[in-house]
Symmetry: C2
Subunit: 261 residues, 2 copies
């Protein structure tokens, strides 16, 4: 996790143009450099927060699968750190709006960051829910497959969050679009888990309580996929200047490709 | 609904001071009046959006209880209008940030609005989910109690959304706090519905499918309560200038009361 994250930070592909850089006197240029540094700092903190959230998902699932109470407790405690990031980055964004009066692409960046951290914070909440479940179930009998369906769904969801953060790091709307598309496959996988659990419950009502636990965890993972999709949509909006939240993916793709040609 | 909403608009208690109004030359004063009108317009549109969202919840529940397919379809169609509000108000907020460079309480207002509409939009999504379920279940056998537990929970949740919007209209942090507290009672009511459904499923596995539908609808309602609580927290933040999202309600109450005395 830490390794992956360092790689992501090292990319330095933050290439949205700051138009005020062109042909300015040196004093303004100095302010402008400070301002760019502030924007870069915010962006870097979003990626740090994202790395932490990815880790929370990973460890919450590990705690469930390994019945590791200590790890589950660590994830629950860790959510406070996610929340700290949320408040600190939100403050930094408001500070920039008040002092720097960003316009155009800078303003879009700040708005995208404000929305992204809200989704990251809620991904953190879902991870915490899974961790709480892991702690509660640690001393109970395990299902025979040791939550295999949750492991599969969880790995898929974690990869989607990872890809969304990569797309954010590179500000790549194509990658963001491809990642947003994954949400559908996650929804299908989730539906299939639910159907499987309903079958189990019908066949043997003694499994109802355990099946419902699987359903809650699957639902938390499916929600995480929704939040990752939201983040992808903010990236497309940020780069393309187009609000895509209530547009179908086909429509977005058409427009992105349409503008390219 | 329409009546209630008009009453709310008529209150005119938008009394956050705009400090730039004091002792300014007439040209600036003119700009300042326009600016205030823009802020007022945004606030009024949030209340309109809120009124629509309240109506969506109400009608989605009515569609479920009365097995009214047409009403359910109307709610599903109506979600596009909620989304339009979301995009339009978001645009207006960004426009104000870019052109008016708001500071202090004005900036807090704009930020609170941006966050509030995200929660209202997601409340709309949950109402749409309930409406889709209503359409799907309209021609199936009704449970004997005709979803009495969902009606009770739904009325409670709808009242909470209504109170959150009232607190927003009056910018009253005390009311916002009292409303945020309701979320706990809703969570308890939700937990009791889930326990009841588990009991039904265990007693008679033939009810599993129907009980799960009730569980999904209850879960959507519980989520709406979470969003209403978020809105209350933005109001406290807006008026008190304090981020309360990751603070316990006891702590918030202490601080609000502490600052008063």
């Amino acid at each position: 996790m830490a390794l992956r994250f360092r790689r992501r930070e090292a990319r330095h592909l933050w290439d949205i143009e700051h138009s005020r850089n062109a042909l300015e006197p040196s004093h303004t240029h100095h302010i402008s450099r400070q301002y760019n540094a502030e924007l870069e700092e915010i962006r870097s903190r979003v990626l740090q927060m994202g790395g932490l959230v990815e880790q929370q998902i990973e460890q919450a699932l590990a705690a469930l699968v390994k019945a590791d109470t200590a790890l589950g407790e660590a994830v629950i405690m860790g959510d406070a750190k996610v929340n700290e990031f949320d408040v600190a980055i939100d403050d930094a964004c408001q500070h920039i709006i008040a002092r720097r009066q960003p316009a155009a692409s800078d303003l879009r960046l700040v708005m995208a960051v404000i929305k992204t951290i809200t989704d990251l914070e809620r991904i953190g909440d879902e991870a915490e829910k899974i961790a709480r479940m892991a702690v509660r179930l640690a001393n109970e009998e395990r299902p025979k497959n040791n939550y295999a369906e949750l492991q599969t769904l969880g790995n898929h969801v974690r990869a989607m969050v990872h890809d969304a953060l990569d797309a954010f790091a590179r500000m790549d709307p194509q990658d963001a679009l491809a990642t947003a598309r994954e949400d559908r496959r996650i929804d299908q996988q989730y539906e299939s888990v639910i159907r499987q659990m309903i079958t189990f419950m019908m066949e043997d009502p003694r499994t109802i309580s355990r099946a419902l636990d699987v359903i809650w965890a699957a639902r938390a993972l499916e929600r995480i996929g929704d939040h990752a999709r939201n983040i992808c949509e903010y990236i497309i909006y940020l780069v393309k200047g187009k609000d895509v939240r209530h547009t179908s993916l086909e429509q977005i793709e058409k427009e992105i490709l349409g503008r390219r040609t």
